[in-house]
Amino acid sequence: MTGYIALSAADLALGSLLVLANALLSLALHLGVHRRLLIAAVRMVVQLSLMGVVLTTLFSHVSPLWTGLAALMMILFAGREATARQDRPLAGWWSFGLGTASMTLAASLVTIFALTTALGPDPWYDPRYAIPLLGMILGNTMTGVALGLHSLTNGVALRRSAVEARLMLGASRFEALGPVIRDSLRSALMPVINSMAATGVVSLPGMMTGQILGGVAPMEAVKYQILIMFLISGGTGLGAVAAVLGSARRLTDSRHRLRLDRLTSR
């Protein structure tokens, strides 16, 4: 590392003028978003500062317990967010439960895989590697799981007569739901595929940019980014398959009947 330029509070204050300029724009043009904009900016500052404090503490202790606890909190927030993004989630705790369980499975498997093989910090659960890695994988897995579930529950509700037509003719539940399941998995994977295709041409990923600003040589940062993209696509695929198949199972029963009564009606 060749060192980096540290930021002072005054530097941030200067940057925040741009947000204030946006707020003034909203007032002048009657956009009505200035309140939400300022609240979101304040939330961002508070949440990230808290995260900074938490990470500083975690890094200085390297405790498997506290690292695990932080990971659990991140996963629970991701589960809540994935549920909130659906129009008609599964009723009861099923939506949150299935979403969270599949994200836990996918994100932790992929994170542990990377920590024990490619990255190999000592100990493997060193929070300086584990937490940022989990955060990146989890964030993308969450998007995939939320899109997959949204598309599944909407698709089943809208294509009810098509699904039931196959059931009536003696198809099993997974045969009957096949087209809806495939569409859901496709829409879950689309963001990862698109971002892999556009990365480096249209966009410079945030992590790589951060490393370069932090003084890492570009080729080193690029290698990290390539690994991260692989991990993200693995996590998204695994998480979406688990969440979509689990929910498809819950949307039908052992007699192979379609159970739309198990969706929240809005």
Partner: protein
């Protein structure tokens, strides 16, 4: 014989009756009385309580898909899952004789689903259901959207299948049709099977 005893579900109070193989029973009753709910419950498409068995075999002794292959159901508005008509048939060539009989052309195989009329869809769905070779067929107003020629063709085809041993439960609003196709009637009012009358 299809035996239904104390079949209950929301919208259906308590249905008990039987249907012999080679018999067609017409189901009548006002709209919203629960006729379609009864057919869906027999086909095991919705959860229900009570006993339903076919030739002594309770339906719970077999899987849902196995049951629905034996007990076919043609809803008033059949569903379609693929883009073209032909993709809904396992074996188009085998369906050809029935297509001819019900006045549907061979080119229908490549029709997009936006092409067939309501009446054509019903006939296609009937052929699709018969292709499974079910023992029992539940029909929900199959001829409501058909012209006189097609109605006669469907009735003749069903009469032939019934004579060959198929059991049919035929929901119809048309009293004259009921008299033509069935000798026995079920009347459903407010979710209850209220009487069965026999015609000499």
């Amino acid at each position: 014989m299809l035996t239904v005893s104390h079949l209950k579900r929301p919208g259906l109070v308590d249905a008990s009756f039987s249907l012999s193989l080679g018999e067609c029973v017409a189901v009548r009753g006002p709209s919203g009385a629960g006729k379609s709910l009864l057919l869906r419950a027999i086909a095991d498409l919705d959860p229900s309580d009570g006993e339903v068995s076919l030739e002594g075999c309770p339906r719970n002794s077999m899987s849902g898909p196995q049951w629905r292959q034996l007990v076919g159901y043609l809803p008033a508005e059949p569903g379609w899952w693929a883009d073209r008509v032909g993709q809904h048939f396992r074996d188009w060539a085998a369906a050809k004789p029935l297509l001819d009989r019900l006045g549907l052309p061979d080119e229908a195989r490549d029709w997009p689903l936006t092409r067939p009329s309501t009446g054509e869809r019903i006939r296609l769905a009937l052929i699709r259901a018969l292709a499974n070779d079910p023992k029992v067929l539940l029909l929900d107003e199959p001829t409501a959207a058909l012209d006189a020629v097609a109605v006669a063709a469907v009735e003749a085809l069903m009469a032939e299948r019934v004579a060959a041993g198929l059991a049919v439960l035929w929901v119809t609003h048309d009293a004259a049709q009921g008299e033509r196709v069935a000798r026995r009637f079920l009347r459903i009012e407010a979710g209850q099977v209220v009487n069965e009358e026999c015609r000499a």
